[in-house]
């Protein structure tokens, strides 16, 4: 109990950052589920969302800037899919992965060009940056909003996938392209919807994340991107609940490690975890078992 009380600020921060990783991780895991592609550009899209917010908030009120950022990110995500992935649909998987790495560098360098390499200060969103007190620990409002918003979005997404027609089509396409086409499903439409959802969640995640970390650099997307990716692998890539649980575990563990005074090792922890998972249980917590039925 003492441990809990002493570390409360860190645990709260962990839950919050865990939720932010979760919102990014869902994008990785959904795209992987359907295209069997690790979308390396996803973290950089998240950074672009942050950067665009910096520029928009300079001239627009928040109520307009936030929706515009979300729309921009969704459009960017779909454009990346159309330009860099769609033409490679029947190419070997390695080609499309290399294309994803290329897009990642393209976005980072575009950001470098735009910002001149300077850190941009993320605008403070009044109702998110407000300080509140829980159980005697002082924290920003965003710490409380993040896990709640994350859970609401995840539940909404799970219901969408389980009960709607497009959700059923997504489950079918993630299993078998050819047979899905035979049902009359438009594969490209399903893929577009997947990218819309992934980009939307990444944009929401970026608003929450940068409210905490305030500086946007061209490389700001890579660390949270990598960690969300590890979370997706940890949870079992392709599984949405897995990605969310993995993200919360990583977020909380990282911050507890910081609380114990080992800040230097908090990043290392995540990647050691990745290595251990890949050695011990490569399919992750809820990953699909590879059943090869003939």
């Amino acid at each position: 109990m003492n441990f809990f009380v002493d570390n409360l600020p860190y645990i709260l921060a962990g839950i919050s950052v865990g939720g932010q990783y979760a919102l990014i991780a869902i994008g990785y895991t959904m795209v992987y589920g359907i295209l069997r592609l690790i979308n390396f550009a996803h973290g950089d899209m998240f950074m672009m969302a942050g950067l665009v917010m910096v520029y928009l908030a300079a001239d627009l009120p928040m109520q307009i800037a936030i929706p515009v950022v979300i729309v921009f990110t969704v459009v960017l995500g779909c454009m990346i899919e159309k330009v860099a992935y769609k033409p490679l649909r029947s190419a070997p998987r390695m080609s499309i992965m290399i294309s994803a790495i290329g897009v990642s560098y393209l976005l980072q360098n575009a950001a470098l060009y735009l910002t001149g390499g300077l850190a941009k200060t993320y605008p403070a969103i009044p109702w998110l940056a407000k300080t509140v007190e829980i159980f005697g620990a002082h924290t920003k409002m965003v710490t409380i909003v993040t896990p709640i918003l994350t859970l609401v979005l995840v539940i909404g997404l799970v219901l969408l996938i389980k009960f709607t027609k497009i959700g059923m089509a997504m489950r079918a396409v993630s299993r078998d392209f050819e047979t899905s086409q035979l049902m009359g499903i438009d594969i490209n439409r399903v893929i577009t919807v997947t990218f819309i959802i992934g980009s939307f969640l990444a944009a929401v995640g970026s608003v929450l994340y940068f409210t905490n970390y305030t500086a946007v650099l061209p490389t700001s997307g890579s660390m949270p991107g990598l960690k969300a990716f590890v979370a997706a692998v940890f949870g079992g890539i392709g599984s949405i609940p897995g990605a969310v649980i993995g993200a919360f575990i990583i977020g909380i563990c990282e911050n507890i490690i910081k609380g114990l005074g080992w800040t230097t090792f908090s990043n290392a922890f995540t990647f050691v975890l990745l290595i251990i998972i890949l050695m011990v249980k490569p399919t992750g917590l809820f990953g699909e078992k590879n059943i090869d039925k003939v």
């Binding site: 489950r171 299993r175 078998d176 086409q181 035979l182 499903i185």
Partner: protein
């Protein structure tokens, strides 16, 4: 009526189909028999637009569907029940049937067709809420046929429906194919089980390495010496 004219397909550097001509008349069961790798599945897949055609044309009730997308071909009333069943294992039986009707909006008719599928395969009704991956091979085949019927096809193409099934189950499947035909759906059947296929076919084609080498009424081919020797093991 479906007409395939001079269909050519190149597949990964191989000339897989070399000028196929084939017709499926209304009210008939047509079968396409031949050894492994003869190009039977490729023929059906290219009709559905899943495999690009390098030459030739496909005409469906007077309409040229050679270059249509798969979705449009399904909408036009052609369904393919793929080789190896390919049910969606983590969808329930009911969902597998629903997804068959993906393009349809006529709720009443969809319900009627679902009832018909359950009538053809009472076992599917019993297992409505079970994941398709947990069904036996025979049940999965029935579900795959049912799912194809849910697209409301006027032509049902079946790719090796008897593959890997027990003889009794095969008998069931073939009797249901007959019922489907009686319900007014034309059937194009691919089989390695040449005897069973020829027995129920009104007309049959024999395929060898990308070309059609023989054709004729099913019964006639059954007694043809060359067919007997090559495909019936007599």
């Amino acid at each position: 009526m479906l007409e395939i004219r001079n269909l050519n397909v190149h597949y990964g550097g191989i000339h897989a189909l070399r000028g196929i001509n084939l017709e499926v008349d209304d009210g008939k069961i047509i079968s396409l028999i031949g050894a492994n790798g003869a190009g039977k599945s490729t023929t059906l897949k290219s009709v559905m637009g899943l495999v690009p055609k390098s030459a030739g044309s496909v005409v469906w009730n007077g309409r040229d569907i050679t270059r249509l997308e798969t979705k449009e071909i399904v909408k036009a009333g052609i369904a393919l029940c793929p080789e190896g069943r390919k049910v969606f294992p983590d969808l329930t039986v009911a969902e597998n049937l629903t997804i068959g009707a993906y393009l349809r909006k006529d709720k009443e008719e969809i319900k009627k067709d679902r009832d018909w599928v359950y009538e053809l395969f009472p076992r599917m009704k019993e297992r409505e809420w079970q994941l398709a991956g947990t069904l036996s091979g025979g049940e999965q085949q029935m579900l795959a046929v049912g799912r194809a019927l849910m697209t409301k096809p006027k032509l049902l193409m079946l790719d090796e429906p008897s593959l890997g099934l027990a003889p009794l189950v095969i008998k069931d499947i073939f009797s249901i194919i007959r019922q489907i035909k009686e319900a007014g759906v034309n059937v194009l059947l691919i089989e390695q089980n040449a005897k069973a296929a020829l027995e129920i076919s009104d007309f049959a084609y024999v395929m060898e390495t990308g070309t059609i080498t023989m054709s004729g009424p099913g019964r006639e081919l059954l007694s043809d010496d060359r067919v007997k020797k090559a495909y019936l093991g007599e």
